[in-house]
Symmetry: C2
Subunit: 117 residues, 2 copies
Amino acid sequence: MKIGELAKRTGVSIRMLRYYEEAGLLKPKRSASGYRDYVPNEVRTVERIKLLGSAGMTLATIQQFLPCVRGEEPVFEPCDELRNVLHEQIRLTDQKAAKLAQSRAILERFLCDIERR
Amino acid sequence: MKIGELAKRTGVSIRMLRYYEEAGLLKPKRSASGYRDYVPNEVRTVERIKLLGSAGMTLATIQQFLPCVRGEEPVFEPCDELRNVLHEQIRLTDQKAAKLAQSRAILERFLCDIERR
DNA sequence: CTTGACCCTTACAGCACTGTAAGGGTTTAG
DNA sequence: CTAAACCCTTACAGTGCTGTAAGGGTCAAG
């Protein structure tokens, strides 16, 4: 499968598929002429990358995490270490959420001040 | 007051004070030799910028908002329009928070999957 | 006068993507 | 064979700050 088709099937732009590769998340073989040649399985891998990305992970983090999710078996060895990544990720998310809640409170206060002029 | 002192008093780096100016948030006079000369009042303005910034506003947004907060009187005319800015800002914040909550849920799910291997 | 502390401008770096463009091969259908 | 449709690499742009460095004036104290 060439890059264009993978892009269509996953909804991820060609640009980003190349970027994923640059980040070490995909390693497609190359045809004689240098075209990237993806195995059908990669479709799922890309879906997983999207999922992890939507969980707020950086590509670098996803790279640590992906081996764990790759393959038919959902989980395996290095996951002991990856649990930490996950906890850390959750911590970061909560932290951002807290900051956001604080921002919201400030905005709310401004709104009150203005409404009641 | 020169820039170094304003920086010390507000805890904002010199770099950022110049950046605020570039964004149109501060307009200090210049001494004969070209040094920025801030009036004492600017200390409060900078504090307000920090506050609005901590509410998640972009400098561009703060610029729209600042005239409303500037001056002794906390609020005045253009605030009818600024109410919209504020509502929009809250909407954006809620939107980010929602996305974050979603991310957290995904992470949580991963964590479960892993814990229960 | 000299030195150290300050100030000025311009501009590049970095984060984490994402788009787009330039310049140039490959493949495939007509 | 030719042209459209694809693919390749390299690299710059933009977002929204923030730091840092280069190259060069200004000011105050000794």
